[in-house]
């Protein structure tokens, strides 16, 4: 409507000098992950001031190794949150699947790769089972997975048996998360750079290709500046990570797996029909159903994927800690997993967010935990600070959502 071009009610837009207008524009746009990135920077500065080892290559490499398992499980949590559901069983499932792998390998002498595969399949089966319960009996996932959490802890104890702790020695399993590319792999540093450059190249080419296609089709396309910024961001992140880790022992293998999981599921959620349907079901399940989307299939497969990722995260954690015991996947892991997804910007109410929030959130939670360990803070303080950060992060998310809705109208 041409009459809508200039709304006489929009007085504010016209008034003020250019800086005021810029600030107003800024305060009205959806900032996306920016507040979290800013928060992460603040966390980094505060801990660095408190202990100058925090931002050292040694500690940052440790940090990446520490967050990989949490982040991998959190990608699964993002998937479930996109559906508008909550998975309370992720912690227990990660512990149980790691225990299945450990017991098969150590007590039953099953080769490492097969034991790992069995652990992953256990996760898949659990997820499909829980998903079936949620989708078919229409019971809230909250309840089904709460029952699951309790039940799978029981199964974990049963699988571990009387010894309670299983120590891992298998080279394959220990190497999964315990390898540092520069220290442990011949020419590992070179390989990490080759893969890094390839990774950047694939992203850059896909950005450029998409821009060309849009241009050719006569659609709006990104400016050259925007394109350069987008590519530069990926370049800086990848090169920064490689420079830092290669100044120490090199990139941790767990992080390689985590990045691979992120890249794969970023593609799945953003670029495939399946991903689109996940968002649709999370946004409006009835609309999705009427658009002939198989909502039951989407729900069940998302639960299957999420629990498989939980299993993978549990296996990475076991590999890094060299053992599975009765508290594997217990204590605050589950809450950290969901908190990471939410801090990273994935909505609790379904349909909004993306897998990168698992990376951002895991970095925030991992940094706080790592930084407080460096300062040797007692655990009561650690818990309280983590709780406070979660509350602040969710508050920021909520305020920005409300603003988005106001602006959206």
């Amino acid at each position: 409507m041409s009459t809508m071009d200039k709304d006489p009610r929009l007085v504010a837009e016209e008034s003020g000098n250019s800086i005021q207008r810029l600030l107003r524009r800024f305060s009205q746009t959806d900032l996306g992950p920016l507040p979290t990135v800013f928060g992460l920077a603040v966390i980094g500065i505060v801990f660095q001031l408190a202990n100058n080892k925090f931002l050292s290559p040694l500690n940052l490499t440790n940090l990446l190794a520490q967050i990989s398992a949490l982040g991998t499980i959190s990608v699964g949590a993002v998937f479930i949150l996109l559906l508008g559901e909550t998975d309370l069983s992720a912690g227990a499932v990660s512990g149980l699947c790691a225990a299945v792998m450990a017991v098969l390998n150590v007590k039953l002498a099953v080769p490492g790769p097969i034991a790992v595969l069995a652990g992953l399949l256990t996760g898949l089966a659990i997820g499909l089972f829980q998903g079936f319960w949620v989708a078919h009996f229409k019971i809230p996932a909250f309840i089904v997975t709460l029952a699951g959490q309790i039940g799978w802890i029981g199964a974990l104890l049963a699988v571990l048996g009387e010894t309670g702790t299983v120590n891992l020695r298998d080279n394959f399993i220990v190497g999964l998360a315990g390898t540092f590319l520069k220290r442990d792999v011949p020419n590992g540093e070179l390989y990490s750079w080759i893969v890094g450059v390839l990774f950047v190249a694939i992203y850059a080419v896909s950005f450029i290709w998409e821009r060309q296609r849009r241009k050719k089709a006569g659609l709006k396309f990104k400016s050259v500046g925007g394109l350069v910024f987008q590519i530069a961001l990926v370049v800086v992140l990848v090169i920064g990570m490689l420079v830092i880790t290669n100044a120490d022992r090199g990139l941790p293998s767990a992080m390689v797996f985590f990045i691979a999981v992120l890249a794969i599921f970023d593609f799945v959620t953003q670029r495939t029909v399946f991903g689109r349907h996940v968002y649709a079901v999370g946004g409006n399940a009835e609309a999705a159903r009427r658009a002939s989307i198989n909502v039951t299939f989407i729900r069940i497969s998302v639960f299957g994927l999420a629990s498989t990722l939980a299993a993978f995260g549990g296996i990475l954690a076991a590999s890094r800690l060299l053992a599975v015991n009765q508290s594997s996947g217990g204590s605050d892991l589950l809450l950290d997993v969901i908190a990471a997804a939410v801090i990273g910007g994935t909505s609790l109410f379904g349909g909004r967010g993306n897998v990168w929030s698992a990376l951002l959130g895991a970095l925030v939670i991992g940094s706080i935990s790592n930084g407080m360990d460096l300062l040797a803070l007692p655990s009561p303080i650690k818990f309280m600070i983590t709780g406070a950060v979660l509350l602040v992060a969710v508050t920021i998310e909520s305020i920005s959502r409300q603003r988005r809705e106001i602006v959206g109208k």
């Binding site: 409507m1 809508m4 998409e210 029909v273 009835e286 609309a287 349909g351 809705e405 959206g408």
Partner: protein, 266 residues
């Protein structure tokens, strides 16, 4: 109707009856729609409008009667049957995903993919723009999420989605009920565009002012029975109100005796 009856209706319902338990929601109802025509379906709450529409849309299979589509008898058992024939319904709730953008909603469940896997966003965006342009729908950007659109724009997106897949009959359930004056105006203009493109449009509405502004013909239901078929020209709103409320019941060539109870909008 003089000029309509010479043509074959694209959709014709003959002697439709539908019963829910003790409630006879529709008894022996006749209804037809013609290509390039907007027909208003009116009636008070419980008159059977929604039931009749849901029979066409395949949500409620009919108990008795026949549905003819493009001159042949058809059997509509479920929503897919209706969609396969080219009958689309836009319900009041619109069934859009608020969190997805306009393109994603237009193509929901019918996504275009490039060589096997990835979504072909370029093709989808391009033809979305074309569809909206053909229907003269103004939307700031097809990449806006639905939550950021006005009520009229949402209604327009929902209608576009209903008509963009070679639909022949589109049923609009209370398309202007939740809209302001300007937005209603946009939607009514869209309905005229649909007529111009040769679709048969069925509009259910309580708003007689809107009905009179856009339809060619009005079909009135009263307690599950037909209660008149009016050409919009030469008919006053008072006559329609009389037919809706039953004051004129039976005066229009029907002589069913009606009971006060019965009828359901479900």
């Amino acid at each position: 109707m003089p000029e309509s009856s010479s043509r074959v209706p694209i959709l014709e319902m003959r002697g439709i009856s539908k019963r829910f338990g003790a409630v006879q929601a529709l008894s022996n109802v006749n209804f037809e729609a013609y290509a390039g025509e907007v027909v208003g379906l009116v009636g008070d709450n419980g008159a059977g409008k929604s039931t009749l529409i849901k029979c066409v849309a395949g949500i409620h299979p009919i108990d008795e009667g026949e549905i003819w589509f493009e001159g042949r008898k058809v059997n509509i058992q479920n929503p897919k049957d209706a969609a396969d024939l080219g009958i689309q319904t836009v319900y009041q709730d619109l069934a859009l995903c608020d969190n997805l953008d306009v393109v994603a909603n237009l193509y929901l469940g019918r996504e275009v993919i490039t060589n096997r896997l990835p979504l072909d966003e370029v093709t989808m965006e391009k033809s979305s723009l074309e569809v909206l342009r053909n229907l003269s729908i103004a939307i700031p950007s097809v990449r806006t999420i639905i939550a950021s659109l006005s009520g009229g724009q949402r209604q327009s997106v929902a209608i576009s989605r209903a008509v963009m897949w070679n639909s022949k009959v589109v049923i609009l359930d209370e398309p202007t009920a939740a809209l302001g004056v300007l937005q209603s105006h946009q939607v009514l203009q869209l309905i005229r565009n649909l007529r111009q493109q040769g679709l048969a449009v069925i509009v259910i509405s309580h708003n007689l002012a809107d009905i009179f502004e856009v339809v060619d013909r009005i079909s009135v239901l009263y307690l599950g029975h037909n209660n008149g078929n009016y050409n919009i020209h030469g008919t006053s709103q008072e006559q329609i109100v009389a037919a809706i409320t039953g004051a004129e019941f039976g005066n229009n060539d029907q002589e069913q005796n009606h009971q006060r109870k019965g009828g359901s909008s479900k």
